[in-house]
């Protein structure tokens, strides 16, 4: 199998509404990634586009619509989507293009323009529910998360304060991110606890809002990296993905088994048998503050029920023993579904190549793991990268 490295990354501003069309956002992110790698579109063999169902942007055949801005014109081009999991999964899809020996250079471009949907993309999310069992009850997507969060709190006796610390950490971490929509250097746990209740126990500041944005990464074979003397690269050493039951009522709401299975697959490939010792930092998916805790446990970086304790003790701060979401994550930078790749794969690349600027982890890091969560809230995708 060909060894694959990430050699460039780019992303747009994340905002509630950008003037740019979806394809214009793709162009901006792609151009930044190409420029940062010192490559041109001519160097790219194949393109993978990751983007949510057509209803979100309101453009049917959205992958085809985005292809010119994504650099896909007259190239082998594929659209993939696994819900929010696309934030990491599209890179896995790009990886197999190169690892298989089929391509030397692959561009991965993720995009969402969630502002088009009026008055709020929640009206599209409403259609993911089972049409017979759930939709007659007119449920809101936040209900599921609220129940999952409530179950997690109930089983382990977790206090809301300890969950709110995740939102505070990530929104503060995002202060150093030039694309951030939700950075706040002064936010406190009380701010989170006093924010509007959406569906108890989920409050306004526990959750990341919809955003417009795009991100891009460039993957290349070891041969290509050597021949072109590319210095800034981070190797993809393990990948994994897994999906749980289609019925959310049949899942373990306390422990994300789908993440654990994806992580074990990726760790085995990366020859990691003691993740807590061998992984230096993590970018788990954090659309809600409790999900970062959930996912840390799924990634086997914390024992069951232990993630809130590690958070309270400062272990997951940027200068802690296990920095978690040093990018600022979805809670701090924003949540344009698939485009969150910028904080997951992009951040691993920037941290491992020493290009994270104000977000750079102060101590040396060699191995990072990123994870995204999606489909109908039962999908995990995991990538391990080494410097």
């Amino acid at each position: 199998m060909t060894k694959v490295g990430v050699v460039g990354a780019g992303m747009t501003l994340f905002r509630r509404r950008l003037q740019e069309t979806g394809k214009e956002m793709c162009f901006e992110a792609t151009k930044m990634a190409l420029d940062s790698a010192g490559l041109t579109r001519g160097d790219v063999d194949m393109v993978v586009c990751g983007t949510a169902p057509d209803a979100f942007d309101g453009v049917a055949m959205k992958g085809e619509y985005l292809l010119d801005g994504s650099g896909g014109y007259r190239k082998p081009y594929t659209r993939v989507f696994t819900g929010g999991g696309t934030g990491v999964f599209s890179t896995i899809a790009g990886w197999w293009h190169v690892a298989s020996g089929l391509a030397d250079v692959v561009l991965v471009v993720n995009e969402e323009k969630m502002s088009s949907c009026q008055p709020h993309p929640q009206s599209v999310f409403a259609n993911i529910w089972d049409p017979i069992l759930d939709r007659p009850l007119k449920p809101n997507l936040v209900w599921i998360f609220a129940m999952e969060m409530n179950r997690y709190m109930t089983v382990y006796g977790v206090k809301k304060e300890d969950i709110a610390r995740v939102a505070v950490k990530n929104k503060r971490n995002a202060v150093g991110h030039p694309c951030a929509q939700l950075a706040d250097p002064n936010i406190t746990v009380d701010d989170v606890l006093n924010s509007e209740v959406m569906a108890w126990p989920v409050q306004r500041l526990d959750i990341s809002p919809p955003s417009d944005g795009a991100s891009a990464v460039i993957l290349a074979s070891e041969d290509f990296i050597r021949k072109r003397h590319i210095k800034d690269r981070a190797w993809i050493s393990g990948v994994g993905w897994c999906i749980d039951s289609t019925m959310w009522t049949d899942r373990d709401l306390v422990f994300p088994e789908y993440v654990a299975r994806a992580a074990k697959h990726a760790y085995k490939m990366a020859k990691i048998d003691e993740p807590r010792r061998q992984i230096d930092f993590a970018e788990p998916y954090d659309p809600f503050d409790y999900k970062e805790l959930h996912h840390l446990e799924g990634l086997l970086l914390a024992d069951k029920g232990e993630a809130p304790v590690l958070t309270r003790e400062g272990v997951t701060e940027r200068d802690g023993k296990l920095p978690v979401c040093p990018s600022g994550g979805l809670l701090g930078v924003g949540n344009p579904i698939a485009a969150t790749m910028g904080m997951k794969i992009g951040e691993l690349f920037w941290q491992l190549t020493g290009q994270a600027g104000k977000r750079q982890i102060p101590h040396e890091v060699h191995t990072g793991v990123s994870q995204a969560w999606g489909d109908l809230m039962q999908y995990g995708s995991v990538v391990v990268m080494k410097g």
Binding site: E24, D68, P119
Partner: protein, 160 residues
Amino acid sequence: MTFLDRTTDARKFRHWEGDVEADYIYTSGVAGERFFVALRDEGRMLASRCTACKLDYLPPRMFCEDCFAELTEYVDVPRTGRVAAVTVAHVDRTGAKLSHPQVWAFVTFEGIRGGLLHRLLVAPKQARAGLSVQARLKSRDGRTGTIVDIEGFEPVRSRF
């Protein structure tokens, strides 16, 4: 029971009637803003120019899809274009018969990459590829900066 025996009326079964409601506001984007403001305010049609590839894009794009340069230079599209292809619609999207058949055309312009889809303002019998046409715009007061500021394309009348 064969396939043909099955009912095609879903209401004969236990069922729930749902709808997928979704409304959208689409931004015209960076290049679109230039195009539609010039169309509305000055009655001009602009293309964006890629100097490296020596081509002009209509509708304008903010980037060249080929060399991937950002495009910031805009040029006027020639006033007269040519009908590349036509169709005459007789039924609407629900399948209902239109009271008057509609003529639609793909119009291209010399030296320009791309073109526009729009109404061709001729009788169905006169619709044919190769016609020389010009855009007919709404009056300035009626223009709002959208593609329907153009009413359609009409044949260029010979001065001789």
